[in-house]
């Protein structure tokens, strides 16, 4: 299959960016979206141009690095998957696909599709933890956690910290990210003593 890409190119935070168009040809529908970008980048490099910068690592939806706005949707058309888990079979031959970075004032663009999400780290540093220093823990089974609570905590803790929630919100709010961490820690008895003392 062949598709046409409109990709946001921006050399750095300090300069303005714009869309550029690229053809992506002879694609296999089983390619992931990022593998398609790899192919485009190889071509760009060989033709003496600079490849498109985008963030990625695990390429299996768990590290939260990839952060593409695809056709106006964070992570693209499929539900509940990251950009790296979006496959070309979700598109049609001949489609024009717009690729942008996640847009939010809290996430400045560093280059092309790469954004600065360090604000998320700062949120966690302000209290997204239970204060337990190494060596001081009681036996793990001394703290009983009901299966329901553990499951609820796990549902919330599964957040990959990619920032899609901020990108999707018109107000760029991080409430989903924050509430996921709060729900994780709140569902468990471990931090209760600390919670009582600070609230």
């Amino acid at each position: 299959m062949n598709v046409k890409l409109r990709v946001w190119r921006q050399a750095s935070t300090k300069v303005e960016g714009c869309f550029e168009e690229y053809e992506a040809r002879d694609l296999n529908p089983n390619m992931s979206f990022l593998e398609m970008l790899d192919v485009v980048n190889e071509d760009l490099t060989l033709s003496g141009k600079e490849p498109i910068a985008f963030e990625h690592d695990c390429r299996e939806g768990i590290c939260g690095s990839c952060s593409l706005m695809i056709d106006g949707e964070p992570h693209g058309p499929e539900n509940k998957v990251a950009s790296c888990q979006t496959y070309m079979r979700s598109f049609q031959d001949g489609d024009v696909i717009t690729v942008e970075p996640f847009r939010s004032r809290a996430f400045p663009v560093l280059r092309d599709l790469i954004i600065d999400r360090s604000s998320f780290d700062r949120i966690i540093q302000r209290g997204g933890f239970i204060s337990v220093s190494t060596g001081s823990a009681p036996d793990a089974n001394a703290i009983l956690v009901s299966k329901d609570s553990a499951d609820t905590a796990m549902d919330a803790a599964a957040c990959i910290g990619c920032g899609a929630c901020v990108a999707a919100c018109k107000n760029s709010s991080a409430m989903l990210f924050v509430s996921a961490k709060a729900a994780h820690l709140n569902s468990l008895p471990q931090g209760r003593t600390e919670k009582m003392s600070v609230s």
């Binding site: 593998e35 299996e60 239970i130 190494t134 060596g135």
Partner: protein, 637 residues
């Protein structure tokens, strides 16, 4: 230099306690006078940085990721081992120790492995207290599952995202210290080189990946927690960014690399589907608790839909060959068996490179919801990638590069051979011998960071006469210049091939000649091909852009340049080790039944390679002296 592993005398069970009793301490009010660099924020690095800061040391933490939470540890799925014996099924520290030594095909150090088993129990306590949402039973107690190479259930897990949850625990502990000002965090900073002063590791050179700035940092000690180098094979289950630069640079500055050829090939990964493929996705080993591995008995059946193949026409080859461990035979053995049946032409799927992992029996026995609860996210991943529903038809799996047991040599104190350099987690040559058991890497990374390093770094800091240098010293300026020059050279070549094409070609050489089965002729061939490819790289690579900006091609070029050197050493190590052990399978050395054949009389040692400046690598041998267990032919039958 004589190898020194600093293993105390005395009974195995007391060695770690004896070491601790004799080690020097740093008084609380003196700790803040020491600065420690920790490179890496995976399980090993984040747990180490947090724990050292809690103790009062001043810590600088580095990672090339944009957040500590993105380290490759986040991708671990299945679980973490610990000798808690909560199941009452006969587990003990000794049994975990023995399983690990045996699983490693008797090529690990006894004292290290015993220590690992000892501290394993503390790790679970620590993580549970941090709020890691481990799976629970209805009574509120922790749940367990089984992993390969063990006959007890000692694996703790958080659905299929155990690595993520353990990493978030460590990341949160680290974040707390960052928030308190006890850790300075340098993200998007890649370590390009190690700085040594008078033979001690005292600093690093970094490149700020966001700005291109090159800078040096000095410290009293340097900790590397930079993960494994499986991406040397190009296609692997690793995150795409994982690389060997930190440990390879440290090697070139004097740290020995141990057993670099010991590589783990994981039996259950989604098979390759095309040339564009950039990575291979693991399907956790835990699936082998409930999935049965099979291929058709007859070649003619390989093209048929699996459900149409009758029970008597299926070969459940692991259950057949290893009845007592069955589908939970260790990874090296399971991978080789899969390769064997595919080599016989009985493989399924594209190219015949796949075997079935079938859940039909378990779904019938337990119901689909139980399987969903246990592995739901894995079935989802499988569906996303292949478009197939594994509740209805068996998964197709094939082995892929997954873990490197080799790494920087360290003794019981970790820095025994290059003072001041502590290498932890997957980056060290570690405790897994020639094959790592499932769920033991998370255990080792956290053991090193939470409970080993905090007890060994003090010994160095309290005793060393080498104080923290200034970055204006010549050792710093000259190492920095070397890093700059290297980047400049790569940017200036303007050749005709992309960085990725070199990486891919190197990976293919490694997989063909130094993969699941290795032999003398193939390894010799690889040793001709790799230097030639390296030469071409340095004359024909094309690295676009410049160094003063985000430049992912430049980042990758530096990593591939180091892989091109490391690959040669890996093949040399594989060539010199004329025996089969664990994941290192030399076809010339196998039993009549096709199992790995060790030669303990000649190879019961750790291969420790010294970088030879110009003169080629030099091999040192650290004998493996077993006081507790008897080396024997592994049997999982």
């Amino acid at each position: 230099m004589a190898l020194n592993s600093n293993i105390p005398t005395g009974p195995l069970a007391n060695k770690w306690d004896n070491y601790k009793a004799g080690s020097k301490l740093v008084a609380p009010n003196n700790k803040r006078k020491f600065e420690v660099i920790v490179v890496g924020t995976g399980l090993a690095g984040a747990s180490a940085a947090a724990s050292l800061a809690e103790l009062g040391y001043k810590v600088k933490s580095f990672s090339y990721h944009d957040s500590p939470r993105r380290a490759h540890s986040v991708a671990a799925q299945g679980g973490i081992n610990a000798a808690k014996n909560y199941r009452n099924d006969g587990d003990s520290i000794h049994r975990l120790f023995y399983d690990t030594i045996k699983g490693g095909d008797f090529r690990a150090r006894e004292a290290n492995v015993y220590r690992l088993a000892q501290v394993s129990v503390n790790i679970i306590d620590q993580c549970a207290a941090q709020g890691v949402p481990f799976a629970r039973e209805y009574g509120g107690m922790l749940d367990n599952r089984s992993f390969g190479g063990a006959q007890v259930s000692r694996t703790f897990y958080a659905r299929g995202q155990t690595g993520q949850q353990l990493l978030l625990g460590a990341y949160q502990a680290l974040s707390r210290q960052i928030g308190l000002g006890a850790v300075e965090s340098y993200l998007r900073h890649e370590m390009l080189d190690l700085v040594t002063v008078n033979g001690h590791a005292k600093g690093i050179v970094t490149r700020n990946l966001a700005t291109g700035e090159i800078k040096t940092f000095a410290a009293d000690a340097v900790v590397l927690a930079t993960g494994g180098y499986g991406n040397l094979w190009y296609l692997s289950t690793y995150g795409r960014l994982s690389n060997a630069t930190a440990i390879w640079r440290a090697h070139k500055r004097g740290a020995y690399l141990a057993n670099p050829c010991y590589t783990q090939i994981h039996p259950t990964c989604i098979p390759v589907s095309g040339d564009y493929q950039s990575k291979l996705t693991l399907m956790s080993e835990s699936l082998r608790n409930d999935g049965r591995v099979w291929v058709p008995k007859k070649k003619e059946d390989t093209g048929k839909t699996p459900s149409s193949i009758k029970e008597e026409d299926r070969d459940y080859f692991l259950e057949r060959k290893y009845p007592s461990y069955g589908n939970l035979a260790p990874r090296d053995i399971s991978s080789r068996s899969a390769k064997e049946v595919c080599d016989e032409g009985r493989g399924v799927g594209p190219g015949g490179l796949g075997v079935y992992l079938d859940f039909a029996d378990s779904i019938q026995r337990l119901g689909q919801h139980k399987i969903e609860e246990r592995y739901g996210n894995l079935f989802d991943i499988y569906k996303e990638i292949t478009g197939e529903n594994a509740y209805e038809q068996p998964m197709r799996i094939y082995p892929a590069i997954h873990y490197t047991m080799g790494g920087t040599l360290g003794g019981l104190r970790l820095d025994d051979n290059l003072p001041g350099l502590f290498v932890i987690g997957e980056a060290n040559f570690s405790d897994h011998g020639a094959n790592r058991l499932g769920a033991s890497a998370l255990m080792q990374g956290l053991a090193d960071g939470y409970f080993v390093l905090p007890y060994t770094i003090n010994n160095y800091l309290a005793a060393t006469k080498e104080k923290r240098p200034s970055t204006t010293q010549s050792e710093f300026t000259s190492t920095e210049k070397e890093s700059r020059d290297k980047l400049g050279t790569m940017l200036g070549i303007n050749g005709k091939r992309t960085v990725n094409s070199f990486h891919k070609e190197l990976g293919k050489i490694m997989w063909d000649y130094c993969g699941m089965a290795r032999d003398k002729a193939g390894l010799q061939k690889a040793l001709e091909l790799i230097p030639a490819l390296r030469e071409e790289f340095w004359s024909n690579v094309n690295v676009p852009g410049d160094g003063e900006e985000i430049n992912q091609s430049l980042e990758k070029a530096g990593r591939v340049a180091d892989f091109l050197e490391l690959g040669e050493l890996v093949c040399r190590d594989a060539l010199e080790r004329e025996e089969s052990c664990g994941g290192h399978f030399r076809t010339e050395h196998q039993t009549e039944e096709g199992e790995a054949l060790r030669h303990d009389d000649r190879f019961a040692f750790v291969s420790a390679w010294e970088y030879g400046n110009g003169s080629g690598p030099k091999l040192h041998q650290e004998p493996l002296v077993y006081e507790e267990v008897q080396m024997s032919q592994r049997s999982y039958k």
